[in-house]
Amino acid sequence: MRLLSNAAALLGKEVRTEFRSRELLSTTIVFVLIVVVLFSFTFDPTSTESHRFGPGLLWLAFLFAASLMLQPCFLREQVNDTLSALRLAVVDPFAIFLAKIGANTLFLLLTELLMLPVFAALFNVTFRGQLPGILLTFFLGSLGISTAGTALAAISAQARMRELLLPLLLLPLLTPILVAATEVTVGLMSPDPVMQWKGIGFLAVFDVVFLTALWLFGEYLLEE
């Protein structure tokens, strides 16, 4: 119970500081917007093409944005060594990860939801009637990106060349998410929409596996 209340308090702090500074969220949104616009200029997509590769480009943009967004989540705790204060205070270090994952998922989801109409307009795709499926895919994909990314951010925060290390580790590790989420999104945005439950199942399993691994071994990632 203390674990959840610790995580809730930490999540509240993460959200409060982010909405106060709006540094991370605004940067990420602008970054995804630029990437999506550049993709649309580069490929000049016709409707058929955009249904085929548009969702892949969208998820690539989300992945790039995530690598940008995840970097500071532990680096910010190093400024005044607040991570040590958290480690001393929390009942279980997993609470720190739960809060960071929750905050990163929330910020990523917000970015994705803001970008969805922009993407639909630029790539001439419709998702009418498929919003619940898209939201589910976005949620599971974002949770997977945040879970794996938060773990890697904790590792890379203590390393030299940390700014380069995170994307180098993150992008290959998240390839399965990219593939599964893209497949599901392609199905949902096609002219004859179909929900690919196999992809949804894969995303859910990925999330559960990484959350369990963090619960079991996360403590070691926070050690000096």
């Binding site: 610790n6 930490l10 702090k13 409060r16 005044n80 060594d81 040590s84 204060a85 001393l88 205070a89």
Partner: protein
């Protein structure tokens, strides 16, 4: 008000060694701190004081050796109050928000009252709504001290605690430390040279190049402590 004996914490460092690559931060440190001791760690820069404090807080794992606790902490981690070199508080939150946040995580009961009381004690009640990033070094240190005292810990670890404090705040801190020591808190603090805070110590331990080179037990005179603290 004395701490009940079951709340008092003792520490025992057994052959503690800490290496960073080929560099030894601590070498073969054997040290027993009885419950209720107030120990001043002295020594030059890089002598291993901070590393020993971080090992005592369990933030850093020793390369070799063992740290054990006696008293209430035998079955787990003691909740130590730690004031480190860095303030360990969030710049983007106000003083009050910082303390309320940590009080919530620590499970402090009546946290609004406790936070208000500590803010008054450290002289920041009037600036409680200001963001910490607008504070001077001394004011940040006062927030850090308040944070460490939030949960009434029985073990206090201070790394040069008077850093940045003005004479008025230092006087308050010394008085508070005296009360904590007299109430049975176990205190381990690193100090640089002769200071007013050192007068509160009941024992002084001097480190040199990661090893304990002198240990003046309880009952030592202030003069001998100052001799050790002298640099």
């Amino acid at each position: 008000m004395d701490l009940p004996s079951e709340r008092k914490i003792g520490l025992r460092f057994t052959k503690i060694e800490k290496r960073y690559g080929a560099v030894y931060a601590l070498k073969n440190v054997d040290l027993t701190i009885a419950p209720g001791d107030c120990v001043a760690l002295t020594g030059r820069n890089g002598s291993g004081k901070t590393t020993l404090l971080r090992i005592a807080s369990k933030l850093t794992r020793p390369t070799r050796g063992e740290l054990s606790f006696s008293g209430m902490a035998e079955n787990g981690n003691p909740q130590a109050g730690f004031v480190a070199h860095t303030t360990m508080v969030y710049d983007e939150l106000s003083a009050e928000e910082n303390l309320l946040f940590f009080a919530k995580i620590l499970g402090v009961v009546n946290r609004a009252q406790r936070v208000e009381q500590l803010l008054r004690e450290v002289g920041l009640a009037e600036r409680k709504d200001s963001l910490v990033r607008t504070f001077s070094r001394g004011m940040r240190q006062r927030v850090a001290i308040a944070r460490a005292l939030l949960a009434n810990p029985s073990l206090l670890l201070f790394d040069e605690p008077a850093t940045g404090l003005d004479p008025e705040a230092t006087a308050w801190f010394i008085e508070r430390l005296r009360k904590l020591r007299d109430s049975g808190c176990t205190i381990l603090m690193s100090l640089h040279g002769e200071s007013e805070v050192a007068r509160l110590a009941t024992r002084a331990v001097r480190l040199e190049a990661g090893s304990v080179v002198a240990d003046t037990c309880a009952g030592a005179t202030f003069q001998s402590i100052f001799l050790f603290a002298g640099g």
